[in-house]
Symmetry: C2
Subunit: 446 residues, 2 copies
């Protein structure tokens, strides 16, 4: 299944390996036209749900390179590490906690876990943060890190934002942006890459309501994935066991998706307590707490964090929407994406690309529709092939200008999922599309 | 003037220094709620003009960390440097080509250029790229760079994208994303920062039409800044002199904006010739050229590049829209932003925040309007103060629910720029706002 997704993603230019002409750079991917449009839409739906549809969350975009002490306070300098072992025989390096998935570098086998003959060193801890240096020259420079998560940029701005936004807890701060992790075992296409985009929201609450808000956000976030079409049977909530929990967390659950590699984390929702604000207060000397100017009441808020990888979310949407079916004598591949996620909302097609009258009507319709939405005009080749292409990129609607259009100014609307066709007046197409894109939608594959 | 912008940006939470609780990290800024919304809008208007409104440009999002050979081919490893000199007396470091703006570190003066007493070393070249290392450990890692521009990610994907997008030149590839430059003299607020966002588009054309497309894009890009409200008197086009031109460029012009620091580059439009595609062809062994499958015609396209800094563009919009005026007995500060850029499109205000009936009507209107646009509800304090706050963040419209609303279901619409007020029916507000946001707009300060 993953192969099919990778193949479609490449064939249609959603996602392909980065720096390919130079032989690639392990686990790095570039997003082509439809990939960018899809990613923009996932991002926009998240921001909408977090910021536009709410009054209790504000947006933030913090620097990617933060002051290095941020990562001391957060514990990343000391603790954000993987235990690695070297094999003295085959010279390969393995994650000590993933030896059961490893393979001997000398005698690779189809079965993982075959490194029993290796002569392994004791595990050593390697930090996963990328380090670089700010300042033009070595002597005067400062070592800094590429952020491994966006969350810390939120915590250190807590006081600033709370004042500026005139908010009192419960309120949240949401951020989308790149993060970097120097993992030695990235892989599975865009499931885990060195460079990725996070969508994180930190929700600051009075300590005594933290549990309640934790359950609230778990529910909200589960609902978001469902709202945009992920099937119920492919989603589950898995609370972390006591031994998986960070020492500061009183509760964390993964919203897991049934990826082709098995149930894996799609989004994490964590009750982080007051750990982060306390750590930064201690390290910076700036009190990160809530003080009510009127009553003098003060407390250190607890934090509920839903954290989602944008690229991983995009992957889940690709997988979940992917479908193959036989239509008549033909097979088709179709992405049954939620219309609000679909890279292209509608295609405008003259039935016969060489018919000037059809082309003129279709062009004029296209010019009208593009005022509201991302739409495509295509007059190349056979109509069936053009439909298939739109199916593969998940375009929910196609408007076709044919002989009858020239007679009565109606066009056919083709529905991507049902393949149903109806005729509507040319003059009504724009309103029809706007309405159709606003309708509640659920995957036909529930 | 810059002080006023910096102050407003901080006061209203558009932009503020990063990592402040740890003492900051020179020339790094974080974007707060309205800053994020404004930045998102500038970005969206650029993407719209480049991608949605055109059929000859596709989007791309390439990795931030590319294969290191990309930067050898592009000439950045060798040539992307600043000449620096050290002073043996005051121990400071200066850019050798900017000594007339420098100050002695021991005896600072109000006049720049006062380093004549310094005992300077010969200039040395320092590369402006940030370096880091991919791979979990030192021995097996690979040195890589954070991209100093997004353009190279486009060039190396030329063949891929041209095939996928079924495009023949002239066509373009557009990209928005972070870039990093380890400059020793960043500054002037967000005019120049170590970390910034670029919006670059590479337009590939047949060699014999390169000059024509160069003029076309200069004109288009100039028009874009004007379209979103930058005043004509604050914009000019400055062609590079022969000695400023890159050796490969047959023409480059800066679209300059009259920043408070004087006329400075806002956007660059360059005719890069076939330099980049030829360099990557030579280094990678992959032929980056256009081949017509039908006729067999082949050529290496020339490239026209409009390149704009998102943060710098945002700064220009802030400066150009900033206004102060006396209204009756009061002064007000107002951002006369184009409605399509304004972070918040409308405010919904009950005249008296404690009047439950007004609040109920206002809330209901707010809930309706937020379906289409970023709007705010505010019932705190005196109405005048609430208007002032919306003026300062550039909200073009305010809908106020007052006594009369309770009697006849009409509200007042207040226009940010003219301060004109009119009454319209509650039921028409949503359509009124949608229409108003679609109207062509020009700055009242032309």
């Amino acid at each position: 299944m993953m192969d099919k997704i990778v193949s479609l993603a490449r064939r249609r230019g959603f996602v392909f390996p980065s720096s390919e002409i130079y032989g690639g750079l392990g686990s790095a991917y570039d997003y082509g036209h439809y990939g960018v449009l899809l990613k923009e839409n996932v991002r926009a739906r998240w921001l909408e749900a977090m910021v536009r549809e709410r009054e209790d969350i504000v947006a933030l975009d913090s620097s990617l390179i933060l002051h290095p002490r941020v990562w001391e306070a957060s514990g990343h300098v000391e603790g954000f590490t993987d235990p690695l072992v070297d094999c003295r025989t085959c010279k390969r390096r393995y994650r000590a906690d993933h030896l059961d998935e490893a393979q001997c570098g000398k005698r690779p086998s189809k079965k993982p876990g075959e490194i029993s003959d290796c002569d392994l060193t004791e595990p050593r801890q390697f930090n996963l943060m990328f380090k670089t240096r700010v300042g033009a020259v070595e002597e005067t420079g400062v070592d800094v890190y590429l952020r491994p998560e966006t969350a810390q940029g939120i915590f250190i701005n807590f006081k600033n934002v709370a004042q500026l936004a005139r908010r009192k807890p419960p309120f949240g701060i949401a951020q989308v942006g790149k993060a970097f992790r120097n993992e030695i075992t990235p892989g599975n296409f865009i499931f885990r890459t060195l460079e990725f985009e996070q969508m994180e929201m930190e929700f600051f609450v009075p300590p005594d309501s933290a549990d309640e808000w934790y359950r609230y956000w778990l529910d909200q976030r589960y609902g978001w994935h469902r709202r945009y079409g992920i099937r119920e049977s492919h989603l589950r909530i898995r609370p972390h066991d006591a031994d998986e929990l960070s020492h500061y967390s009183s509760g964390t659950s993964d919203i897991e998706y049934l990826f082709p590699i098995g149930w894996s984390e799609l989004e994490g929702v964590a009750n982080r307590g007051d750990f982060d604000l306390r750590q930064h207060t201690e390290q910076s000397g700036t009190k990160l707490e809530w003080v009510d100017a009127g009553t003098g009441e003060r407390f250190v808020p607890h934090v509920i964090e839903p954290a989602l990888g944008l690229n991983r979310s995009l992957l889940a949407f690709l997988i979940d929407s992917y479908d193959e079916e036989v239509v008549g004598e033909n097979e088709r591949t179709v992405l049954r994406l939620h219309p609000a996620l679909a890279p292209v909302k509608a295609a405008v097609l003259p039935l016969i690309g060489k018919n000037a009258d059809m082309v003129a009507k279709a062009r004029s319709l296209f010019e009208e529709l593009r005022l509201d939405a991302q739409v495509e005009y295509d007059d190349s080749g056979a109509i069936g092939r053009r439909y298939r292409r739109q199916d593969e990129i998940g375009t929910p609607f196609a408007f076709t200008v044919d002989e009858q259009t020239l007679a009565d100014d109606t066009v056919t609307v083709r529905d991507r999922d049902s393949l149903g066709q109806e005729r509507i007046a040319l003059a009504q197409v724009r309103a029809h599309l706007t309405d159709a894109l606003r309708q509640p939608w659920s995957s036909p594959k529930q």
